[in-house]
């Protein structure tokens, strides 16, 4: 056990820190579209400097660095208060899935534009009637002479209105619901695809609905075998959870610094109730960071992300929600007035225990797959 960085990791970090000082893109614009544009430009800068796809293999255009260096990269971006690259779905899920399950042709076609941000990706999994029960989805893919015809509806899709490609999970047969799904790469820029923004509880529109009306997907855009979609999709969900928690924890610590500042600015620094609630969050966030690094060390040793990623996901949602509640209590009577930072945080955090697998589903995963408790009927 050694929690210090190795000389190679240290060199990577120091070089990156220096580079970030010289190339910081400036603050993220507040509006969603402006932010995406800003982060696309930022991704191009990262790409040109060899900082896109840190842990992707070199043969696929990545930097070929270790998962630990990927985690260090994520942390350093947060520390420098630089935005994350825009094509996060492609970088974290789309690319790794194609590297793991794709054909050589798919790798040649799709990987490079993911890294540069030239082509944005989105994820078409959830449906109005298939949220936690993802395998219950009803979007249909039917094979004909010209490939596949898609009909159905997806929901809660980030970046759909800007995306070129969608990782689409659709039904391709009957029978066992874990064996009748297929994983497609669907072109979003075609007449059969309609994207509508979804207005969420915060008032913002980060997500979309997608309507597929006889949309087309050619045969060569099937990832894995027909009927293997569930297995392929599970890989993406595992990748989604692995390796991000340490950087997320650092982002939360920075937020807690701001909250401590708010407490002092309100002259309530001696209030024991508030200070203990804040320090309890500091402690919880530190354990989340440590769980993240411990989980990452396991991934490095065993090769694949494990269900332990669910631990950090539950902690992340819980901590963010408690920060929102504490901020409202610090604001007191002023909590009636919309605050650009804290009101949004309080509301947005309510989705954290739903998106990416609800906290209840995460607890099911821990109970069944780590503790081997009997499966719920």
């Amino acid at each position: 056990m050694d929690l210090s960085l190795t000389p190679a990791e240290l060199a990577f970090r120091d070089e990156l820190r220096e580079w970030l000082v010289a190339h910081h893109p400036g603050p993220d614009p507040a509006d969603t579209e402006g932010s995406i544009d800003h982060r696309l430009g930022w991704q191009r800068t990262l790409f040109d400097a060899g900082y896109s796809g840190i842990s992707w293999p070199r043969e696929h255009g990545g930097r070929g660095a270790t998962l630990m260096e990927q985690a260090i990269f994520n942390e350093e971006l947060v520390r420098a208060r630089a935005p994350s690259p825009a094509n996060v779905i492609g970088l974290v899920m789309g690319g790794p899935v194609i590297i793991t399950h794709g054909t050589d042709d798919q790798r040649a076609r799709f990987l490079a534009p993911i890294l540069s941000g030239e082509e944005i990706w989105c994820q078409g999994f959830s449906e109005p009637n298939a949220g936690s029960d993802l395998a219950a989805l009803t979007t249909q893919a039917v094979r004909d002479d010209n490939g596949w015809r898609i009909n159905g509806q997806k929901v809660w899709t980030s970046f759909a209105h800007r995306a070129t490609w969608c990782m689409l999970l659709a039904k391709t047969g009957g029978g066992d619901r874990h064996r009748n799904l297929t994983f497609f790469i669907c072109n979003m820029k075609q007449p059969g695809v309609e994207v509508r923004p979804l207005r969420q509880a915060t008032g913002d529109s980060e997500f979309n609905e997608i309507f597929f009306n006889d949309a087309r997907v050619p045969d060569e855009n099937v990832v894995g075998a027909v009927g293997d979609g569930w297995k392929v999709a599970i890989t993406t969900l595992m990748f989604e959870r692995a390796g991000l928690s340490a950087a997320s924890a650092l982002a939360i610590q920075l937020k807690l610094d701001e909250l401590a500042e708010l407490i002092r600015a309100r002259g309530r620094q001696h209030d024991v109730t508030l200070s203990r609630r804040l320090s309890a969050l500091v402690v919880a966030t530190e354990t989340m960071r440590l769980n993240g690094y411990r989980g990452l060390s396991r991934v490095i040793e065993h090769g694949v992300p494990g269900p332990e990623g669910s631990l950090a996901k539950i902690q992340w949602a819980d901590i963010n929600q408690r920060i929102g509640e504490l901020a409202m209590d610090v604001l007191g009577g002023e909590a009636l007035v919309t605050d650009p930072v804290w009101t949004r945080w309080m509301l947005r955090a309510r989705a954290n225990s739903i998106e990416g697998g609800t906290s209840e589903i995460q607890r099911n995963i821990l109970a069944e797959r780590v503790l081997n408790l009997p499966r719920m009927r």
């Binding site: 929690l3 210090s4 401590a260 200070s275 440590l290």
Partner: protein, 336 residues
Amino acid sequence: MRFDLTDDQRAVRDAIDELCRTRYSSVSARGYGCGEDDGSALWHELVASGWTGVAVSEEHGGQGLGTVELTLVCEGLGRALAPATFFGNAAAAMLVAAAGDEAQQKRWLRGFASGEARGALGSLQADGSALAYDAEGAAALVLVAPGRAAIAAADACTFEKTDGVDITRRLTRVRLGAVDDLRGDVDAAVDRVEVALSAELVGVANRAMDLAVEHARTRQQFGQPIGVHQAVSHRCADMLLDVESARSAVLCAAWTADNHPQALPFAASVAKVAAAQSAWRTTTGSLQVHGGIGFTWEHDCHLLLRRAVASGHLLGSAEWHLDRVAAQRGLGPAAA
């Protein structure tokens, strides 16, 4: 960075688990607490295998391994609800090594390391007496109070058995004879002891979780195991979250104590808060999952719960540590 035990560290963990499995059951723990078992079988094994000196420097007769190795021993012993003879002795050694002067180290450390002249840990009370676990038979008592630590030869003290909440340990009120202050960095030394204590609590929490999970798998009601219900299984999942979070925090603090001591106050506070909360929540949760059987005297649930409460409030409480973390951010009663 590698946040994972080495093969040698895994071997330490496995050796202690094996030792406890064969030498110390919860029947022993009950017997020890009420005086029917003197606990010597386990203690002599720990002495014979050299574990008593695990983190004492070789210069003073120990193995010179790290705080990580020490916490692995403590976690295993906590899981077995072992007496405080090991923990108290290790605490005494850490306090004298970190805050004692050369003469004090020369006089005491060798005996602590070999286990032949054992140390015990006591907390100084407002009335000048001390409360200590498993102090009878010790050669010396190391006493702590906020900002102060001292050592007293046991033969100059008198012991009076006291009714302790934790019935797997023997609590005594100690009337002290002459005490000799440790004049080094007491706070840093106490932080190390907190880490070892937190490691014991992780063991307690893990055992409570294991019992709950086993019960949830096997106990049948309404024709199926109770663990199929999310009210039960999610409670167990939360125990896993608590146990693993506390384990991560303790391992980090142990590593920090040896490699990055200036960061120890924060790391030790995180460890103690996480471990105390984890032990309380898992032991109370485990009792609830067990239902009626968990509330019987014969079941181990209350032994674990009693240990969680008593050890959680030994040295700095979770509140004390939360206030220290808050003060580092300019908040709380101690803030300027």
